[in-house]
């Protein structure tokens, strides 16, 4: 009964989504108020019904209803309840339902926080989001229905993929989808602006907080996924350039370009059509990512169930939504004009250069991801593009972008002078260069790549400090607190996010430069030394888990004879699927992790004998995720800026009030 209610709720949600899109777009085109006012309730109702459907599916999981095919494939009666709940999005059908639900969350968000916007704008935005909802609901109902029954019902389910039975997986997909789907708001605003012909600073101000929040979620989502790969795949890697990872990284790069471009459009009225294009691109890449992950055109270590029929549907939808938007862009963008002009050396130009570098980086990731597909389509053979390509292309592109991060915030809008920038930044540059050259010696081993990485990180930090100092000494207020309070939250958000980039770079550089990996054979009681630590292997004991059998090893970590940590790496054999999972044990430290994972027993089945054990030292690796969280936090702080909460009156001028008040950097 419950699954049928869920299915009915989805059908009703589809009807409301159709109403939401048609009333919104037609109402705004006709200027019919009575149609436009109906859009908000339709959108909210649509969300309520999707939420009911989601609740029904969750109920079926918790109640172990294996007559539902999707539950039977992704759950098991022995699966702990928490994982039965997260099992809802453990497979394809549920992931798409989660996607639709989160789109509903964003839509409802727009209905609540749009009181100050003109009616036709809101109607168009919700109308565009309604089209996206309609597409995904049709997709769910016709190709990916999670409520289909299976008869006769299996006695028990196949169990959730063991890789997904992990706390990180509980929040990784929702966070990632909040980011992916959140770009639909910026997209809808851009399409609404193109349709309405109103592409100005106000439009940028409305779009900015939504975009920044979505970007922050995406940042956290990607970081969680990377952290999860680090401790559950047992290889100690944190990024694999896998198509599924790239699918989330491309919207992130574009989103990063978009939030900076929106800043210019809001402050200076420039980059208008470029910003619109980025907004379309960011969401298109989210859709493309969904297509790549769900259609099976590319293979991935994430190996989700794939189905060509679904691929055809998403591709058709992608062609419709993105093709339609780009056609609209081709038709209307020429009419909105380019916006303000600016000097060759100015904050605009540094942001533009950064934007271009980010988009070229995104395009290179896209090319690398799709290259195997292109070759296969042209009958040139089956190949895969691995980390060597991405490393070779990506770092040279991002290094200048990071360098510009130090210059941009110091440059004046409109026209900056190079000698002036040089005077203000020469000390920062000197400090960063000297420290970057010396530090690798202190850390033990000098290489040009380590020095270059450290230079970029230090450069970002020192130039941010110089920037803050300039702001504070330039302030007319008295007292440090008053001076600090004079700057806007969006300024501090920017500093925080840039600091996050620096922390991230330190992590990447040092882990690549100084990590050590040993695969050793250890007898009971044997000790091995790695990087000043002694690892003593104390054997492996079998034990039961809720839905698996575990083999738990014990490894004592000592430094200078003193016990600092007892690590318990595990191997789990899941009962229902027979799959094996390796759970690494990690002693986390601010300056590096000690990572131990179990390989195989040397003599098969003799668990009391010698084992292959992997012992990795990962210096500064946690800085990678700390950096990502700082970036996201910066985004959240920036959104708290007062000016987004003020009731915004209609403005037609290209320049907002903030720009005339000086040069707030964000």
């Amino acid at each position: 009964m419950i699954p049928e209610i869920g299915q009915l709720a989805l059908a009703l949600a589809l009807c409301l989504a159709l109403a939401q899109s048609s009333l919104g777009l037609a109402g705004a085109a006709r200027g019919d108020r009575s149609w436009m006012v109906a859009v908000r309730p339709a959108a909210q109702g649509q969300f309520v019904f999707v939420a009911i459907a989601f609740g029904c599916l969750t109920y079926s999981f918790v109640a172990n209803d294996f007559t539902v095919a999707y539950v039977a494939s992704n759950s098991n009666s022995a699966l702990p309840v928490a994982y039965r709940v997260t099992g809802v999005w453990g497979g394809h059908e549920g992931s798409i339902l989660l996607w639709t639900l989160i789109l509903g969350v964003w839509t409802v968000g727009v209905t609540f926080f749009s009181r100050h916007l003109p009616d036709d704008m809101v109607a168009r935005v919700l109308g565009v989001m309604g089209i996206v909802s309609t597409g995904f609901l049709l997709f769910t109902l016709f190709t990916s229905n999670p409520f289909l029954r299976v008869f006769p019902a299996p006695a028990d389910g196949r169990d959730l993929n063991p890789l997904l039975q992990d706390p990180g997986m509980v929040i990784h997909p929702p966070m990632l989808y909040m980011g992916y789907v959140g770009f639909s708001v910026a997209f809808a605003f851009a399409i609404a602006a193109l349709l309405g012909g109103r592409l100005d600073a106000t439009w940028a101000r409305w779009s900015r907080p939504w975009t920044t929040v979505a970007w922050a979620f995406l940042t956290i989502g990607i970081a969680l996924g990377s952290g999860w790969a680090y401790y559950t795949l047992g290889w100690g890697g944190w990024w694999f350039w896998d198509p599924v990872e790239n699918a989330s990284f491309m919207p992130w790069l574009t989103g990063t370009a978009l939030i900076h471009s929106l800043a210019v459009t809001e402050k200076r009225g420039a980059f208008k059509s470029w910003t619109v294009l980025l907004a379309i691109l960011a969401f298109s890449l989210s859709l493309l990512g969904t297509f790549l992950v769900r259609s099976g055109v590319l293979t991935s270590v994430h190996a989700f169930a794939t189905d060509p029929a679904r691929g055809v549907f998403i591709l058709a939808f992608l062609a419709l939504v993105v093709g339609g938007s780009l056609t609209l862009f081709a038709w209307r963008a020429g009419k909105v004009g380019l916006g303000g002009i600016f000097g060759v050396v100015s904050r605009e130009s540094t942001l533009l250069a950064n934007n271009i570098l980010l988009i070229v980086a995104m395009a290179s990731v896209l090319l690398g991801t799709l290259y195997p597909l292109f070759l296969d389509a042209l009958n040139l053979g089956k190949i895969s593009v691995g980390p060597p390509y991405f490393d070779a292309v990506f770092y040279p592109l991002l290094a200048p972008a990071v360098f510009l991060m130090g210059v941009g915030p110091m440059a004046r809008w409109n026209k900056a002078s190079l000698p002036d920038l040089w005077t203000r930044l020469k000390w920062a540059l000197g400090v960063a260069v000297v420290a970057a050259v010396i530090l690798p010696f202190v850390l033990g081993h000098w290489s040009p790549l380590i020095a270059a990485g450290l230079f970029l990180a230090l450069w970002v930090v020192v130039s941010s400090v110089v920037n803050l100092r300039t702001r504070l000494t330039g302030s007319h207020r008295h007292g440090l607190v008053a001076k600090l309070a004079a700057n806007s939250p969006s300024y501090y958000g920017m500093l925080l996010a840039h600091l996050g980039v620096a922390v991230f770079i330190v992590g990447v550089t040092l882990v690549k430069g100084y990590e050590s990996e040993q695969d050793v054979r250890l007898d009971l009681g044997q000790t091995v030394d790695a990087g000043g630590y002694a690892f003593k292997f104390l054997g492996v004991v079998p034990g039961p888990g809720p839905n698996y059998r575990a083999l738990t090893g014990t490894v004592e970590v000592r430094k200078d004879g003193r016990l600092i940590e007892t690590l318990k790496p595990e191997k789990r054999i899941y009962n229902a699927s027979g799959q094996t999972m390796t759970i690494a044990a990690i002693d986390i430290g601010l300056f590096g992790d000690r990572y131990v994972s179990l390989g195989e027993p040397l003599a098969a089945d003799d668990i009391d004998g010698a084992w292959g054990v992997r012992i990795y030292l990962k210096p500064f690796i946690d800085w990678i995720w700390t950096g990502a969280f700082l970036m996201a936090l910066g985004g959240i702080v920036a959104v708290c800026d007062r000016r987004y909460r003020l009731a915004i009156q209609r403005r037609t001028g290209a320049i907002g009030p903030a720009a005339s008040a000086g040069a707030p950097a964000d």
Binding site: V297, L315, A319, F329, L370, A377, G578
Partner: protein, 176 residues
């Protein structure tokens, strides 16, 4: 010329969609199996229904046969099963089942319930033979010729298209 530049993103996108469209009809998982063209790994396993008897690859020399890897716990096997039952009725090619990592009782009950298309099923309880065959997902199906050489491998459920367009033509050719 000037208006063309606004259409550039659209043009790039159209090319991209064309490639994605072609990509959809290809299977990236269709990795050439290392077993193709090589002798099928030998086994001698107890039969599911008559545990006292064994079936060995040597017994099948001189016939073209299909080896279908299945299990009672495998949900996708239910998808392809009706197709196998139909194939068995048509009596074109003998299908042998490898009951993979399964309890024999559960396997027998499953066949009783869903129909038994197999000339014989053999029990690979610990999955050793599965490893020899490089099984990484159930179901999988192998086509083996008279000389005992693997000629085709289907990963995942059999589809009517794969059967009609690839497997059966190949069977007819090999049976000549």
């Amino acid at each position: 010329m000037k208006s063309l530049r606004w259409s550039l993103p659209l043009a790039i996108f159209v090319i991209l969609v064309a490639f994605l469209w072609v990509g959809l009809s290809r299977d990236p998982r269709e990795v050439p199996s290392p077993l193709l063209g090589k002798p099928a790994p030998a086994f001698a396993l107890a039969k599911l229904h008559v545990p006292s008897e064994t079936l060995a690859t040597a017994d099948l020399k001189g016939t073209v046969w299909l080896l279908n890897v299945w299990a009672s716990w495998c949900v996708s096997c239910r998808v392809e099963h009706p197709l196998l039952v139909e194939l068995a009725k048509a009596n074109i090619v003998p299908v042998y089942g490898l009951d993979y990592k399964d309890e024999p009782d559960a396997g027998r009950a499953w066949l009783a319930q869903h129909g038994d298309p197999y000339t014989a099923s053999i029990v690979d309880r610990d999955g050793r033979v599965g490893i020899d065959y490089g099984v990484y997902g159930v179901p999988e199906t192998f086509l083996i010729d008279k000389a005992g050489v693997v000629r085709y491998k289907q990963i995942g459920p059999l589809t009517p298209e794969a059967l009609k367009q690839k497997i059966l033509p190949l069977v007819r050719e090999l049976q000549k």
